[in-house]
């Protein structure tokens, strides 16, 4: 028999203690609000959980022992609404969601990026420069929407977040106007240098990539002392947390000072429902299970959902909050507009750089050492006259990140041709990659379409008996078309690096289908200016009814982006808008817009 425990009411409940949960917790706690954060995973111990046991490729990267267990909850996925959606059953073959205080940032690559000013009004900027017909051709069933705020509106939040997170990077990067990153760059790898020199000689803008990994010891504005990176390379590859805390995660940046300021953090607390009042429509409390299966009721004045990966819209849908999206009538906004770029079809165009590279296994960190340009990304070049219309462009980075022997096992599977000595011979010194593979093509932007959405699966349930989130998405033609054209733009730079490029056939939109998800899960509970198109207003607040419910995360973003690495940080920035919105709501309850 499980017991039901009712807790005293608080100002705010935060669901999920990842990047967003931490960002909001510190702001509210410092504001003097009474805040409870509920996190389904543990509070990891950096010494015993990470320092000693993370050097474990099988456990950490393959079995995802630090990540959200699929036996508890997973999602189903399909390409079109006429297909039966299949569950993602194995952690071994997906890039897993976060688990525990700190969330997915424990195993992210910590590439840092802002969205540039263009991205904030991607839809209207495209229409005004190229016309509505061009956009419709580039993205059939277009569902890209503008952000409700501009780059300049968000700028103070960026600066605050970058201070708190301890970001490294170059300053005055023109696609991120007005940036002053608090920490210097990490060392640049030989490949990064080669790209930098080539780009420079061709007059192409180039910068070291910003990262959310501390390059030096640092103290953030909350008084948190942050260690520098030790560059041991057991970093991301989708499974490795950082034992030094150099790689930014909320439990090494924002959560400890929030606790000092009074945050009540409860771990092993799996929230499964937001209850609403039948009379007012407002949320009254959340319900959660503890590790022993007891049910807890936590009433609050306001609730903010910070659970990434279809889970924010899922939470609203199981709780009956917001209008569920209907793809037939194209009405309703909850679950609308997801766009996951991982694995989008990419044309091959590559060669090898004739220098030895020593950086590809267990050295450096997941994000370091790269140079990049945005000249072929976003709207930084004229798209007029491209062979097939597309928006955005591509962004490659050159540097080399940590790799992993086990990836060989996955890479070779699926083909009878890989049985035996020939495949084995191809693995000789493989992890040392003596000649670095350099690509002259990139993945294009994946864009929201009205045919893509998150809803509740009618067949599969989680461990507690609730329906799984169901994800209906395929790659939009924009990503393939942009990738095909990217070869034209990148080839001169890569040739200048001394690389002979072999270019593969153009990829065909629709020939590669989304099978998995992982790195960036955007859309599904989007912010915007029009209540018929967005689930949340600019303060990340539910438009009507449960107006004391807010949400934050990449899934609130209404656009596609070239900043493959940067959906997280722009979302952390909009989370600051959510924190402000909540403070305003607590002072004066009601719709803020």
């Amino acid at each position: 028999m499980s017991t039901t425990i009712t807790h005293p009411s608080v100002d705010v409940v935060i669901i999920g203690a990842g990047v967003m949960g931490g960002e909001i917790a510190i702001k509210l706690a410092l504001n003097g609000n009474k805040v409870v954060a509920l996190e389904k995973g543990p509070y990891w111990n950096y010494a015993t959980d990470f320092a000693i046991s993370k050097y474990d490729e099988w456990g950490a990267q393959t079995l995802h022992k630090f990540d959200a267990p699929v036996v508890q909850q997973t999602n189903t996925q399909r390409n079109t609404s006429t297909q039966f959606a299949m569950p993602l059953r194995r952690e071994a073959f997906r890039t897993a969601l976060g688990f525990g205080v700190g969330g997915a940032a424990h195993h992210y690559a910590a590439n840092y990026g802002r969205f540039d000013p263009w991205t904030y009004a991607e839809n209207s900027n495209t229409v005004s420069r190229y016309g509505a017909a061009y956009l419709a051709a580039a993205n059939p069933n277009n569902d890209v929407q503008d952000f409700p705020f501009t780059y300049n509106d968000y700028l103070p939040y960026y600066k605050d977040h970058e201070q708190g997170w301890g970001v490294t990077g170059p300053n005055q990067n023109p696609v991120c106007p007005n940036s002053t990153f608090p920490l210097p760059n990490h060392p640049i790898t030989a490949l990064g240098m080669a790209f930098q020199a080539a780009a420079e000689s061709l007059g192409i803008n180039n910068w070291p990539n910003p990262t959310a990994i501390a390059s030096q010891p640092y103290m953030n504005q909350y008084g948190v002392q942050i260690n520098a990176c030790v560059y041991d390379g057991y970093c991301s590859c989708s499974g490795y947390p950082c034992e030094t805390g150099a790689k930014a995660a909320s439990d090494a940046r924002t959560i400890p000072p929030a606790i000092s300021a009074g945050l009540d953090l409860r771990t092993n607390a799996y929230v499964y429902r937001i209850d609403t009042s039948p009379t007012t429509g407002l949320a009254t409390q959340v319900r959660y299970y503890d590790a022993a299966g007891n049910i807890h009721l936590q009433p609050a004045t306001a609730i903010v959902s910070c659970i990434w990966g279809f889970l924010n819209p899922w939470m609203m849908l199981v709780s009956g909050i917001g209008a569920a999206y209907n793809p037939t009538t194209v009405t309703g906004s909850m679950g609308r507009g997801p766009n996951e770029p991982t694995g989008a079809p990419t044309r091959t165009a590559a060669g090898t750089l004739p220098i030895g590279m020593n950086n590809t296994v267990w050295a450096g960190n997941a994000a370091m050492g790269s140079y990049s340009t945005y000249d072929f990304a976003n709207d930084n070049f004229d798209h007029t006259g491209v062979a097939v219309p597309y928006i955005g462009g591509t962004r490659n980075t050159y540097g080399g990140t940590a790799s992993s022997p086990g990836l060989i096992a996955i890479a070779g599977a699926g083909s009878a041709a890989n049985i035996g000595s020939t495949y084995k011979a191809a693995q000789l010194n493989r992890t040392q990659v003596l000649k670095q593979n350099v690509s002259a093509s990139g993945a294009g932007m994946q864009l929201p379409q009205t045919t893509h959405y998150v809803d509740l699966d009618p067949h599969y349930v989680d461990i507690y008996g609730d329906p799984l989130p169901r994800y209906t998405q395929d790659y939009a033609p924009n990503s393939a078309n942009a990738s095909n054209d990217s070869v034209r733009l990148w080839t001169p730079v890569v040739q200048k690096m001394g690389v002979t490029i072999t270019t593969g056939a153009a990829v065909v939109p629709g020939s590669t289908h989304e099978v998995s998800y992982g790195i960036h899960i955007r859309g599904g509970i989007r912010i915007g200016s029009d209540p018929s198109l967005s689930a949340l207003n600019k303060w990340q607040q539910i438009w009507s009814g449960a107006t004391n419910v807010f949400a934050a995360g990449e899934d609130t973003e209404p656009v596609g982006s070239n900043e493959q690495t940067g959906g997280t940080h722009p979302a952390a920035v909009t989370a600051h808008a959510a924190a402000e919105g909540i403070m305003m709501y607590l002072k004066s309850p009601g719709p803020l817009v």
């Binding site: 059953r89 030989a190 420079e200 070291p208 942050i226 260690n227 030094t244 000072p257 049985i419």
Partner: protein
């Protein structure tokens, strides 16, 4: 105009992580971070932690042909009789997930001749000679071991590039995984319905609100689409069992003998047939008669063999770190384990590659004990 701000590159020196462990682990953000109780057991979820290159295990090999394996979720009994075998594999999985209790019954009749156990003994001797470690199988049956070992050696043969799967002890990696969480679907979402990739439409599936028809069926499988899905209502342990027995049966039907006795060329051809989904009955009677897709089994086999070759020796394979020697992986050597004197930053930014001797997790832990970071 690169980096026009003039911001500097951080200095090349960085602490060795062993030093870091001495000075600061556990103290992050000025607070001592406390451990919580995880939903699942945190940290290593492996079934074995022994990995000591010099340790000699005296345990005897499991030669018995009837085994009862009791794990947290599965009781399974496998009975194997005679030189001509009829294998009845009955297993009851009582899942801890609500509403997912299932009983699997499968009968796989194979005309295979059970091999002489001397073959596995020979493998043992070879392994012993190579790594100095004798070992025992916990889960894999002897007749299964012959097939797995032979298949593993076809996938990664010993050749001029070094030892193959047998010397690496790949079978022990697989055995321990099958014994533990992997074998019991501990990290696999297991509730049904089970519907394969590429099932054509219209497809009607029951739901609590009644049958729903999907005109387009399911998504087509692409590489790794299928294993990611694992659309089988059985444990991995039984997936392997049925797969091995079916491979053996197919080898007999198509190539006239047990897999391990086939010529090298026929072994390659036989495994290739699995990848190409050639066997028409395979893993029959599994999950309501649907069987196992041969390519799914081939992919799993390939994947686990390579993982056994490349994962840390603490998991039972990669003995003598032969996989890391092949791939030039340093394992846990971040640049100074054998006194090489290379900083991690030098490694990360070098244009001249150096290949570092590999270091296993056990060696690393040992060094922490010697340097006093961990208590012995």
């Amino acid at each position: 105009m690169a980096d026009s701000s003039g911001s500097t590159t951080s200095s090349g020196s960085s602490p060795d992580r062993r030093n870091f462990l001495k000075i600061g682990a556990g103290v992050v953000g000025g607070l001592v971070i406390g451990a919580g109780v995880g939903y699942l057991a945190k940290g290593s979820s492996t079934t074995t932690t022994t990995e000591n290159m010099t340790e000699t295990s005296t345990s005897t090999e499991n030669m018995t042909e009837t085994s009862t394996v009791t794990g947290p979720t599965t009781t399974s009994t496998a009975t194997v009789t005679g030189p001509t075998t009829t294998d009845t594999v009955t297993s009851t999985s009582v899942s801890t997930l609500p509403g997912t209790t299932s009983t699997e019954t499968s009968t796989v009749t194979s005309t295979a001749t059970t091999s002489n156990t001397s073959q596995i003994a020979a493998q043992q001797a070879e392994l012993m000679a190579y790594s100095g470690v004798a070992d025992a199988l916990t889960t894999i049956q002897v007749n299964e071991a012959n097939v797995i070992n032979a298949a593993a050696n076809v996938i990664i043969p010993a050749d001029s590039n070094g030892p193959g799967a047998a010397q690496a002890g790949v079978i022990y990696f697989i055995d321990r995984q099958l014994w533990g969480e992997y074998g019991q679907n501990g990290r696999i979402y297991s509730p049904g319905p089970f519907i394969q990739v590429g099932t054509p439409g219209p497809l009607t599936v029951n739901s609590p609100v009644g049958p729903i028809t999907y005109s387009s069926g399911t998504q087509a499988g692409i590489a790794w689409g299928a294993p990611q899905r694992y659309e089988y209502g059985i444990t991995m342990r039984n997936f392997w069992r049925f797969g091995i027995l079916s491979l053996q049966a197919y080898a007999n039907t198509a190539y006239g003998g047990n897999f391990e006795t086939l010529s090298a060329a026929n072994q390659v051809a036989c495994l290739g047939d699995l990848f190409n989904n050639k066997p028409t009955t395979f893993g029959n009677d599994v999950s309501g008669g649907a069987g196992i897709s041969p390519v799914d089994f081939a992919n799993e086999l390939f994947y686990m063999v390579w993982c056994g070759f490349l994962m840390d020796p603490m998991y039972g394979g990669n003995r003598g770190m032969v996989g890391w020697k092949l791939t030039a992986s340093p394992g846990l050597n971040s640049g100074n384990f054998y006194g090489e004197g290379e900083t991690p930053v030098q490694r990360a930014t070098a244009t001249t590659p150096t290949i570092l001797g590999p270091v296993s997790n056990a060696q690393f832990q040992q060094s922490l004990k010697i340097s006093g970071v961990l208590s012995p």
